[in-house]
Symmetry: C2
Subunit: 535 residues, 2 copies
Amino acid sequence: MHSIHQLLIKNLFQAPIQDHPEQEIVYAETLRFTYAQFRERVRRLAGMLLARGVKPGDTVAVMDYDSHRYLECYYAVPMIGAVLHTINIRLAPEQMVYTIGHAEDDVVLVNADFLPLLEQIKGRLDTVREYILLTDNNESPQTALPLSGEYEALLAAAEPVVDFPDFDENTRATTFYTTGTTGLPKGVFFSHRQLVLHTLAGLAALSSNADQGRFHREDVYMPITPMFHVHAWGIPYMATLLGVKQVYPGRYVPEALARLISTERVTFSHCVPTILHMLLSDPKCEQYDLSGWKVVIGGAALPKSVCKAALDRGVDVFSGYGMSESCPILALTHLSTDELLQDQESQVALRTRTGRPLPLVRLRRVDDDGREAPDDDKTPGALQVRAPWLTQSYLKDERNSEKLWADGWMNTGDVACRDASGSLRITDRTKDVIKVGGEWLSSLELEDIILRHPDVAEAAVIGKPDLRWGETPLALVVPKQGVTLPEKGIAHHVKCFVDKGVLPKEAVLIKVRLVESIVKTSVGKTNKVALREMY
Amino acid sequence: MHSIHQLLIKNLFQAPIQDHPEQEIVYAETLRFTYAQFRERVRRLAGMLLARGVKPGDTVAVMDYDSHRYLECYYAVPMIGAVLHTINIRLAPEQMVYTIGHAEDDVVLVNADFLPLLEQIKGRLDTVREYILLTDNNESPQTALPLSGEYEALLAAAEPVVDFPDFDENTRATTFYTTGTTGLPKGVFFSHRQLVLHTLAGLAALSSNADQGRFHREDVYMPITPMFHVHAWGIPYMATLLGVKQVYPGRYVPEALARLISTERVTFSHCVPTILHMLLSDPKCEQYDLSGWKVVIGGAALPKSVCKAALDRGVDVFSGYGMSESCPILALTHLSTDELLQDQESQVALRTRTGRPLPLVRLRRVDDDGREAPDDDKTPGALQVRAPWLTQSYLKDERNSEKLWADGWMNTGDVACRDASGSLRITDRTKDVIKVGGEWLSSLELEDIILRHPDVAEAAVIGKPDLRWGETPLALVVPKQGVTLPEKGIAHHVKCFVDKGVLPKEAVLIKVRLVESIVKTSVGKTNKVALREMY
């Protein structure tokens, strides 16, 4: 009996790269490489790491903007059996000390821009043996950090690895830390097998739609979700497997991004709603033609207003769904040819849905007693998932891992409705949902309705304990500058939507309080934990 | 740590079938089912088999034409942990006795048309406990076979299985027997994991091309490669995962196939060249519009003449490559948008190539010393493959299994050239190649050239031992009826192609012998083993 063929990252590296030797990989507006050069650089990077004593199971961390170098690390580090730790470059110094120590990083590849940050904490990075400098120019920066060398020089001197080893497909390939509103960052990790399966199923899902938003062999790809964040949704692996031209933009500067889309003829991207909003609203971006650009939105719900603005500019925008714990993609929204013929308002409603699961993914929605919620697009349920690419636990963190899993299902922490065609619509985070007399009210839905009032600048809705109802909704509302807004006006506005049947009748119990500002987390999300404590 | 998610056929069954309840599955020109009905029928089939004592590891065999019932067996049998044996309904009775016994079939589901065949051999089918009748009408046939019941009646009475069990992904799911020109049929077998991976990678490859020949969510699928033959190339699993309308044609009658393509608006199929040739040349098929029909050709090289005839009818024809031992798909030819703009002759040359490997597949070509042949599209090499979905051995057959594998690579038995863009071109079977003074001559290429002579009806080229050259080519040529054809004329015709640089210079050593007929195998292929013995 021949042994079972292991699913390894190197299987994603071979044929496509060899068969498109002239295909391009572009870095920002400065550098261009061919796939043939990329292949040679990955082989040299692997050789360099081995020569510097990196062994199977060691951890190699990267602190960089989105770059060709990062893509090289996506392959070379796991292909020698080491673990790639993609460091969130936006972490506070204390969180960085924690994650580098917790992941037990042996080697850190660091962009010159982050040297000052590492200098501050270098005395506390006990596990790190070597720092390797990443820089776009050939200058040697002044630094107190003990650098082992510069990436390009080390690559030039390295012996390329031609035959990469075989090993168990369940070998850990990558690690990344997620940050919540409370507590320490939590490590998620993925094996070679999981990344290969995510790549195949993601590609099958992204490419098999008839027309709208599909990813294919003649696209030009540019991520606008950071490469440190769950491998930029794993889409660089899919793009390389397709053999398409790839553009890595470096730092995210709206005008530079818009210019790259236009000059490099980028046709396929993914980003969070705020980045898309920036690209659409920045006056400096107006001169660039974005029509025909396909973009998957994830990380947060796509607001209808942003979706509409994108459609007005000819952007083919649609939603994806996933989380750091799930590698990340779980579901995608694709419109059928018939749906593409509908008017803009209907399309906005479809494109902002959460969509249908990828192949091999099962999503179910349960009530408090574990019963499945009906697929009527009205009844919400706590969303749980099964898939071959979920993190097996939080890294070295039993307490949080126990809460993540229930009966073989992973708790997403989201609440969702589903229609009869299997299309999901996330309505809230589990912990933000408000229970009024046993019925679930979505805080996100209430906020969305309140924000439609012309005099409202910001709004946050939380649950307030109530003797009779259990909880009732409390809306904290920031009026627009210079506007006098009666609290009753907001309550009336909400009631109108109850009368229209848009909101459930429990929503009329809403209380409104005008405030000057709403407290945010470090990454700019509404801090509902703090709000619940305050009110 | 959460356990590793197993890759099981049931993962291919859940979401798509649930989410397209109204989608259709059509059988021949007689029956229509919805996906919702299909789901219920699979659950009942599983319940029926369990109730009749089928246990994990038991083998359930099917003898049927392409049908909705066969699709139901593709899922229900492996999903209860049993093995599906897809019996080649074209086998001779002796071969059938051998394969049913060798596979240790416990239950046989048999179409009424094959009852006479089984009656002949029933005394020798020692392993079979039960026979279940498949029939399109409700009549009870007269038979000496001890039938346990009729499929539809048993399904109607069965208790549906709702939750299918979890088990090891390396559990065997299917078995099929391949027949060569010599020796006993050889069993190949595939696990749940292998079928899931083949489905995902095949779908990613078939769907990710920009335009030409791609398979997508709005296609209508009809196989014209028998469902007993390596799961109709595994494409029914992909079609179900896509959620598309499926048409199963029953017996292959050219006019009925053409009518189904036209009336059911079939857009995607696969078949061997002879079936395509029949559809294009049968006068009864002429009235049906085939334009826009996409068809992948495999099983044998697509002749340029058939490719051209298909293009003339507006058929989007292209080649695939695989073998029974490889689940089967290994490579596909897809044209780029630029290539689609080329003239018909160039397109024919491209569409008849073997193409590029699927994701996770590696194909290499080696000479006698195991050195890789250059990618110059001229130098042939023996084609070897690595992929996660190759049979691990021939079933219970160590002697043949040893010949199948070499150094972790599977020998395909084919000889191929490859160009710099990774596109393969099969030039011969390893055992049919002719070695002239150390150079490899392709018998298929010589036959193709000789067949271009206007007076030639049939041709076969074999190697003949030669003291000086090792081997020289011998062409056996059947002239067209009523034509006097000098042997020298053929030799001169070959020499012209050597002079043009189409054939290597060793081809001028060809000897020509006129014959009245060329001996064939039971499946209509030229029997070169017999020819080499005869001459």
